[in-house]
């Protein structure tokens, strides 16, 4: 239990050297977003609530067919969320707009994973089962997942769903961005390919931003001058155009800071190169060795 003087100085030296490290390594947090990812631009003014995207998404991802696929009325009475059986759902909102006959005008909005540029879920995942791909897709690998559901806690859009009824091999379920299709030349996500009104435009994110801004400019008075997802949580691959405030269609107002920024900054400044644990070890060892010398009673066996 006694710490030799030589050992003690070795430890203290290591601790000293390591405290110097963070100063040198404290680069500011930088985004890990891919340079030129794909994305989708959803134009809520074009969506008619046909729910074809739900059906096609289920088909290409081998999920059960959506509930009452041909219903475009009563299905909307309840607000739905994507879940372990559906990667995307369309909801209807009455936002207070009325038409010429004083009838309320519905707005339809599709929801799915936003494929964030700096995704909170990817930063959070304990084993790296979630990854942000060059294509922009945030992909899930069930073979790494341990089912801690930290990704679900982290996601600011409340997207990942869980197979709560599977006792042994539950999976996290969320939109795949149809990775298998978009990673091939000319491939389109199922939902974007089927949409009859071209409400979902697939393309490079940078192009989509231009398209969106042009649409806003060329149709004065129609769109809000805000592309949802351009800046939210540092930017997302899926983006929305709308004529009604995004909050009213349950797209939450979010800061422009990427969600993982603060947590990663704090975490890395505390633990990069394990400098703080090593320093603490050194300091405590120093204390211990001193108190040991003072207390003239080295026989401390088993008294732990």
């Amino acid at each position: 239990m006694l710490l030799s003087r030589r050992n003690f100085f070795k430890i203290l030296g290591a601790a000293g050297a390591s405290t110097a490290l963070p100063a040198g390594s404290a680069q500011a947090w930088s985004s890990k977003a891919p340079d030129d990812p794909y994305g989708c631009l959803v134009d809520l003014t074009r969506c008619v609530g046909c729910r074809k995207c739900e059906e096609e998404c289920a088909r290409v991802n081998e999920l059960p067919a959506p509930e009452r696929p041909n219903c475009q009325c009563t299905i909307f009475e309840k607000n739905r969320r994507p879940d372990d059986d559906a990667f995307t759902v369309v909801n209807r909102y009455f936002t207070g707009r009325i038409d010429n006959f004083n009838k309320p005008v519905p707005t339809y909005a599709k929801v799915q994973c936003m494929h964030c540029q700096d995704p909170a879920c990817v930063s959070a995942c304990i084993v790296g089962a979630l990854t942000k791909d060059e294509t922009g897709a945030v992909r899930y690998n069930k073979d790494k997942c341990i089912g801690c559901r930290y990704c679900m806690v982290a996601c600011p859009f409340e997207i990942p769903a869980y197979e709560y009824d599977d006792p042994i091999t539950p999976k996290v379920m969320k939109c795949t961005f149809c990775y298998d299709r978009i990673s091939k030349d000319g491939g389109l996500p199922g939902c974007a390919g089927i949409c009859p009104t071209e409400a979902i435009t697939f393309g490079k994110r940078s192009t989509l931003l231009k398209v969106g801004k042009k649409r806003v400019k060329e149709n004065p008075g129609i769109y809000l001058d805000h592309i949802y997802g351009e800046k939210e949580v540092g930017g997302t691959s899926w983006m929305y155009l709308s004529s009604v405030p995004f909050k009213k269609v349950k797209l939450p107002g979010l800061p422009e800071t990427p969600s993982p920024k603060l947590s990663e900054t704090i975490h890395h400044s505390l633990f990069s190169y394990l400098w703080s644990p090593i320093a603490l070890f050194g300091v405590l060892a120093a204390f211990m060795s001193r108190t040991k010398k003072e207390a003239d009673n080295p026989d401390n066996k088993g008294g732990v």
Binding site: V127, P167, T291
Partner: protein, 398 residues
């Protein structure tokens, strides 16, 4: 005041009640592993973490802090006066962390995959660091506990029946292990403290990745510091709590000569926690929420007033510090405050960004939690009955 096994009856009515909870918990766990997590819990896609993470894991880790705080005090800072409480605190910590891991096994969807973080590293993930620290620390705790087992069984190994041929081998392992540990124990003691500081604080960092989902009364960049400060502050109150319960239920000497001076540290440690929590609230101007009457705010107020301020003021009085009941009540309040803090951060203060509706744990969730706690107490009782953990020689009323 050397630690000794208790010489007492094991089966008491209290133990039988524990047994009932254990059986009920086992049935709920069976339900979890046949019907899925959804079958026994109220968890949802909007509320992925509930009672099991908030209480079994986060609170369990916080309340096991007595282990490293007493070890630091007695062995690192050389206050040997407190040595007699290090053993029970170490036992609680070892058991506490064992049950944190058991709780995790029930909570995570793919329990059989729990080893995967060892080979799949995500250094950006706070949870990854927590998991690694907890895993190593659990082993450190077992190692620290080994000398106690060795002390009891060295040269007395007497396995029943067929196993008796292994007697000399087991004895040799115990003796060699003990001899090696005798020389190297200082490493494990310091390592235990370092690992504890790391993951106690990182547990607080867990929610930092979800800035929009945790109520501003709790979401602050100082969360890791607060978790660490509260874990350190709750360490000695936990010792007071346990010692008082153990000494009164086993009718041992109440050890006030140790507990009263311990509270003096608590005044500073709890005071620091109170200071950063209040300071943070003022600095970030979150006091504007204080009177809005929501249940989150009320929960925060209870945490701050009954769980921190009140016991802190209580302990300032010498009369309270000298009274067995006084320090017991103060300790209970402090522990309650830390429990409530963890529940607040992981459950009450968590608001899903889109879905409405609140979460309240299902009966199945509670049965599992109570069952795990009962099992922990049951094993604690076995351990103190048969191993030299509690100071035995000053027993009264045998």
């Amino acid at each position: 005041m050397k630690a000794a096994p208790l010489n007492k009856k094991f089966w008491t009515p209290g133990v039988l009640v524990m047994l009932c909870f254990m059986i009920a918990g086992a049935i709920a766990i069976l339900g979890r592993f046949t019907g899925g997590i959804g079958y026994v819990t109220n968890l949802s896609n909007a509320r992925p973490w509930g009672l099991w993470v908030g209480v079994d894991v986060a609170t369990g880790v916080a309340l096991a802090a007595g282990g490293f705080t007493t070890a630091a005090l007695a062995h690192i800072f050389g206050r040997h006066h407190y040595e007699s409480v290090t053993r029970p605190a170490l036992l609680t910590a070892a058991l506490g962390y064992t049950f944190v891991v058991l709780g995790l096994l029930v909570d995570i969807g793919r329990s059989w995959a729990i080893w995967k973080p060892m080979f799949n590293w995500n250094f950006n993930s706070v949870l990854f660091e927590v998991a690694m620290c907890v895993m190593i620390y659990l082993n450190v705790l077992y190692i620290e506990f080994l000398p106690i087992v060795a002390e009891q069984f060295k040269d007395r190994v007497n396995l029943p029946g067929m196993l008796s041929s292994l007697n000399s081998l087991v004895n040799w392992i115990l003796k060699t292990g003990d001899a090696i540990l005798n020389k190297t124990m200082w490493i494990f003691i310091i390592l235990g403290v370092v690992l504890s500081c790391m993951h106690q604080s990182s547990l607080g960092s867990l929610m930092l990745v979800a800035p929009t989902k945790l109520h501003p009364l709790w979401y602050t960049p100082l969360l890791p510091l607060m978790f660490l400060a509260s874990a350190i502050a709750v360490g000695y109150p936990m010792v007071i709590f346990e010692t008082t319960i153990a000494t009164s239920s086993f009718k041992l000497d109440p050890e006030m000569d140790i507990l009263t001076p311990l509270t003096r540290f608590t005044i500073y440690l709890l005071g620091f926690y109170l200071l950063i929590k209040t300071g943070d609230m003022i600095y970030r101007k979150t006091w504007v929420y204080l009177l809005d009457g929501t249940y989150q705010t009320n929960s925060f107020l209870v945490e701050m007033i009954c769980g921190i301020a009140l016991p802190w003021v209580m302990l300032l009085f010498n009369r309270v510090r000298q009274s067995r009941t006084g320090i017991f009540i103060a300790a209970c309040l402090i522990i309650g405050g830390v429990v409530l803090n963890r529940v607040n951060v992981f459950i009450v203060g968590y608001k899903p960004p889109i879905s409405e509706g609140t979460y309240f744990p299902a009966v199945g969730e509670m049965l599992v939690t109570f069952g795990l706690i009962a099992t922990l107490m049951f094993i604690y009782r076995i351990a103190v009955t048969f191993l030299p953990v509690l100071p035995g020689s000053r027993e009264v009323n045998v």
